[in-house]
């Protein structure tokens, strides 16, 4: 029982460390790294549920009878591509943010936005 679930628990710890990075870190690159880790850990979760003890890779051959489940592999192939697509788009957003705000720290960007809003409001009050 314990051994059978241990794998899953470790994978959950991995997922959560990814999620933690996304929420707790203000650096945008670090956030994207967190997302990557979160997603990769979900892939690990899928792949480990496809494993059959004593099975082998799902490439059919005459002298093998037990294979691991191929379907999660297919799903994760798709999901990996989705992951890299998100990362690429996210990074290009970060590059654009650096160009226009001069920083990639969440707090400083927020502060600049707030200052701008306050300036706008002051103008309005006049």
């Amino acid at each position: 029982m314990l051994m059978g679930l241990f794998n899953n628990w470790v994978v959950i710890v991995l997922m959560m460390s990814g999620l933690y990075i996304v929420i707790a870190h203000g650096n945008l690159i670090k956030k994207l790294v967190g997302l990557t880790i979160f997603q990769t850990s979900v892939f690990i979760f899928y792949i480990s549920m496809a494993k059959v003890n004593g099975g082998s890779a799902p490439i059919l051959s005459e002298n093998i009878s037990l294979y691991s489940n191929p379907l999660p592999h297919v799903l994760i192939l798709t999901a990996i591509v989705v992951g890299i697509a998100t990362t690429a788009l996210g990074l290009s957003l970060v590059v654009r943010l650096k160009e226009s705000y001069g920083t990639i720290e969440e707090e400083e960007i927020q502060r600049q936005d707030n200052q701008q809003n306050q300036a706008l409001n002051k103008e309005r009050d006049k």
Partner: protein
């Protein structure tokens, strides 16, 4: 046993990533994380996935992140803004997941529901129905061909999105100026240039091998596309963007990206025309199995072409933006002097 070792290494790396402040190190660790999880996938019999994860997680995504930090700076600021809120959310989510695992079938048990309903048919019948030994490829390219089509469209979307965000049209004289500056910069790298010139043909050959061998072993259009593009990226890094753009210009590469998606879709349209459902390869030839072979071959080409083209587009966009930034910085420095 080996999976426990790999998993613990992954945990160590995850913790290291949380604690590191140097983004360069963080990105390299992310690459290692990708590579280790690829090794884990091999241990879990998912060779195709491992191949892709190695190419993507340890290759392309690390590369893109590195390019990005050369533009954004490599130090993280020390402040961490809401660690307790984050911890709270993470604990709740993780707790819920652990609660969920309690009723889960045990790891690796062969009689879990996941192995009993849909999957057996793929393993038992795909040889008669499709006739290729790699079951992952037959599920990917035939049973669930539409998912793969969606996947190609996702990567296409990302490529166009990156273009829409980063693409800057350049005037010709400006381009030549940047090119000449870069040429002088790149001339130092003599050793690596020669080695690269030797390697690139082999990388391209390997990409083609992976493309064609996908039916029989791990591999397929996506991996082949990534490998193919990596050869071009390597060339670009050493010989400059302008030189690479002379070989593959922007218009051509966009055309190829669009062509791959269209080619994939046209296989589906062709099966409509022949009286089957969308992506029903059986009708593509007189013999259903031969039709399946043909269909899978064709769509894998569509995938390969699009992925290679989009990866190149993404890298070119980043590199072009970077050159432009450096160029304007140089100009600024010169003015201030």
């Amino acid at each position: 046993m080996i999976n426990i070792v790999l998993l613990s290494l992954l945990v160590v790396i995850a913790i290291a990533i949380i604690r590191m402040k140097d983004l360069f190190a963080v990105v390299m660790l992310t690459g290692i994380y990708g590579l280790l999880s690829a090794s884990f996938f091999v241990a879990m019999d998912a060779v195709d996935v491992a191949f892709t994860e190695a190419a993507v997680g340890a290759g392309i995504s690390t590369l893109l992140m590195l390019v990005a930090i050369t533009m954004t700076g490599r130090k993280e600021k020390v402040t961490r803004h809401k660690p307790f809120a984050a911890l709270f959310i993470v604990l709740i989510t993780g707790g819920l997941l652990i609660y969920g695992t309690l009723d889960m079938p045990l790891f690796g048990s062969a009689d879990a529901p996941i192995h009993s309903h849909v999957a057996p048919r793929y393993l038992n019948d795909s040889m008669q129905e499709i006739g290729i030994p790699n079951v992952v490829t037959s599920v990917l390219a035939s049973y669930r061909a539409f998912d793969t089509f969606g996947e190609v469209v996702v990567i296409f979307t990302a490529g166009i999105g990156v273009l829409a965000l980063l693409f800057v049209p350049r005037r010709k004289e400006e381009d030549e100026k940047i090119a000449s500056i870069n040429d002088s910069m790149h001339e130092h790298h003599l050793v690596i240039r020669i080695i690269t010139k030797m390697l690139i043909p082999f990388i391209l050959l390997f990409a083609l091998y992976v493309q064609f061998h996908g039916d029989y072993g791990p591999g397929g259009g996506f991996q082949a596309g990534v490998i193919f593009s990596s050869a071009i990226v390597l060339y670009t890094m050493l010989f400059g963007l302008s030189t690479a753009r002379k070989v593959i210009n922007q218009g051509f590469i966009q055309l190829m990206a669009a062509f791959g998606v269209l080619f994939y879709g046209c296989v589906g349209i062709a099966s409509l025309m022949n009286g089957g459902n969308f992506f029903d390869y059986n009708v593509l030839s007189d013999d259903p199995v031969a039709g399946q072979h043909l269909g899978i071959l064709l769509i894998e080409w569509g995938v390969g072409v699009t992925v290679a083209a989009i990866m190149i587009i993404i890298f070119f966009s980043f590199a072009g933006r970077r050159e432009l930034q450096q160029h304007s910085e140089n100009n600024k420095n010169r003015e201030s002097l």
